[in-house]
């Protein structure tokens, strides 16, 4: 039996600097058997361990069917991520996972998919966007909606541009403040919903980002008659064990680490947006 508390060694095969505070580590387990055994779903996460420093929960952004490498896009926000930013190609980290419940991809098949994200390019939904783009025929219309504070905050501009040129794919981006040559909207994120022309009974929404933004988005989507059980969001809480034992990620009657991080709105609506949970 594999003890879920103990990491496996992984090698950084490639390191990509995405912005001044965001980087991607492309990893591979050094143990061939573990590499073979490992598989994940978009929306799941790993505990990434930096030797001598500690662990941090990071979602997996690569394609689940990529058998070579799996990627973590990480923003420097604390002690462990600041240390991880120093890790170079060829160096070793620890990985245990995958943990949690990912996006409802089977349920989404045959539906129009609306992705709503905010903040600095939300890694958990990038995996789902890539997943859908690579399996385009299984899904209906894809709409990607992203809000940022300032246009400089948008990661992966090229990718968004590329996505916007895909068939039956609609990209809407808004920045509260736009810099020069910003090709997208300027104004509050919530204004983007005015551009939406969705079919409520055919739509499934997947959201990730600040809870206030998701709260506002859910309100608008419910007004547009999208069903509660078709609204999904990825939640974030302090995670240490990732297996539902340490108690830090408790969210009402749920453990975000193992019952989430992806929840449907009707599962958590009693406390969603309630301060202190």
């Amino acid at each position: 039996m594999i003890n879920p508390y103990t990491p496996f060694e992984a090698e950084v095969v490639e390191r990509i600097q995405e912005s001044s505070t965001i980087f991607t580590l492309r990893l591979r387990f050094t143990d061939a058997e573990q590499h073979e055994r490992y598989s994940f779903q978009p929306g799941q996460f790993n505990m990434v361990y930096l030797y001598g420093v500690g662990e941090v929960a990071i979602s997996i952004v690569s394609d689940p069917e990529d058998e070579q490498l799996y990627d973590h896009t990480i923003r420097i926000v604390g002690r462990v991520t600041r240390g991880l930013a120093q890790v170079k190609q060829g160096q070793r980290v620890g990985i245990r996972g995958p943990f949690g419940r990912g996006w409802p991809l089977l349920k989404a098949e045959g539906h129009d998919v609306l992705i709503v994200t905010g903040g600095l390019g939300c890694a958990p939904v990038v995996s789902v966007i890539n997943y859908i783009i690579s399996r385009r025929e299984r899904f209906g219309r894809l709409t990607i909606m992203q809000g940022v504070k300032h246009s400089d905050d948008l990661l992966w501009r090229e990718r968004y541009k590329l996505w916007s040129q895909m068939p039956d794919t609609h990209v809407i981006i808004a920045a509260d403040q736009g810099g020069q040559q910003w090709p997208w909207r300027i104004g509050p994120v919530i204004g983007m919903f005015d551009e939406l022309n969705l079919q409520p009974d055919k739509t499934i929404a997947m959201m990730c980002g600040p809870e206030g933004m998701m709260h506002a988005a859910i309100k608008r989507l419910l007004e547009m008659d999208v069903a509660e059980e078709m609204l999904f969001m990825s939640m974030e809480r302090n995670m240490q064990c990732a297996v539902g034992h340490c108690g830090h990620c408790q969210y009402g009657g749920h453990f975000v680490c193992k019952d989430g991080p992806v929840f449907s709105f009707n599962e958590i609506k009693a406390i969603f947006g309630k301060s202190g949970f």
């Binding site: 039996m1 003890n3 879920p4 508390y5 103990t6 990491p7 496996f8 060694e9 050094t30 030797y51 001598g52 420093v53 500690g54 662990e55 926000v77 604390g78 060829g90 160096q91 070793r92 980290v93 620890g94 974030e236 809480r237 302090n238 240490q240 064990c241 297996v243 539902g244 034992h245 340490c246 108690g247 830090h248 408790q250 009402g252 009657g253 749920h254 453990f255 193992k258 009693a270 309630k274 301060s275 202190g276 949970f277």
Partner: protein, 368 residues
Amino acid sequence: MEQTQFLQRQDLQSLVDVLKASGYRCLAPQVRDGAIVYDVLADVSHLPVGVHDQQLPGKYHLIGSDDKRSFAWANGAQALKPLLFSARELLWSAERDAEGKINFVQAEPAVQKTAVIGVRSCDLAALRVQDQVFLEQQYQDENYQARREALFTVAVNCSHPAETCFCASTGDGPTARSGYDLLLTELDDGFLVAAGSAAGEQVFAQLPLELASDQQHFVAGEQALHAEQVQTRKLPQAGLADKLLANLDHPRWQAVAERCLSCGNCTMVCPTCFCHKEIEQPQLDGHSTEHLREWDSCFTQGHSYIHGTVIREDTEKRYRQWLTHKLATWVEQFGSSGCVGCGRCISWCPAAIDLTEEANAIAGNSND
């Protein structure tokens, strides 16, 4: 049918001897620094003979008497919890070689066959709760499991609940119904003894027992009834979980937060609280590191910290999280309440906050 027999008081040492001969380390209640704690027992004369306790919100006090009984008191701060869910332990260690390769080594938990004499029914109930947390969900905790399997419980029915006790109201006591290996009921001249497991029956068979009289059974029954009736504290019964969650903005949360020191004592003495944090401890040799876990409390700032923000930044939110988890959302998570009515959080609260009083103020009033 469960067979109950009688053990003379002067033969109690035989229980300790049989357990030791069966390979168990024997832990039993003993007085240390003015409190009853579980410690290794050499001889039954070290039990708290004649000791009674007085417990009130924020108060724990021992009183001596001429009583011959060894178990005429209610639980002290310590539960079974630290024996199974260690307050601090190594999870794994890692070594990094000159090339930067990391070798992870899983820690082997220190396990010793352990018999605990004097376990109360509230702590047996708490043991079931912790089994649910650590063993009966998607992931199993190997360290907990190893120690759990090495545990032998000698329960003693509670005859002297403290004023802070409310196990009758939660349905977890004062009489133990299951979950023990052996069960004792203390009478003036000895103990009624029953076995509750195969391991318990083996020990039972080696004790110098005699037939229990009808009178002894009758006295035990009276004693159990009395222990139930003297309890004055109660939790609201009907719809407690729903009522608490429907009152998240009740002004009482703010009122209790003004008294609460957010010290976390309640969570440390609680026999069901399971929160713990992981700690990385690099070693001074420069090429190895240890990864430990240590009890944590939802009353700390760090508990709900998430990159740059704290979800529960004030005491009101922390107290509300603790109480609603214990009494309401725990049911959603594990199918039963996280409170077993032991009353420890009341006795050991330095601000004398009474969980039953707060729950009644917020979600009903059955304390009358």
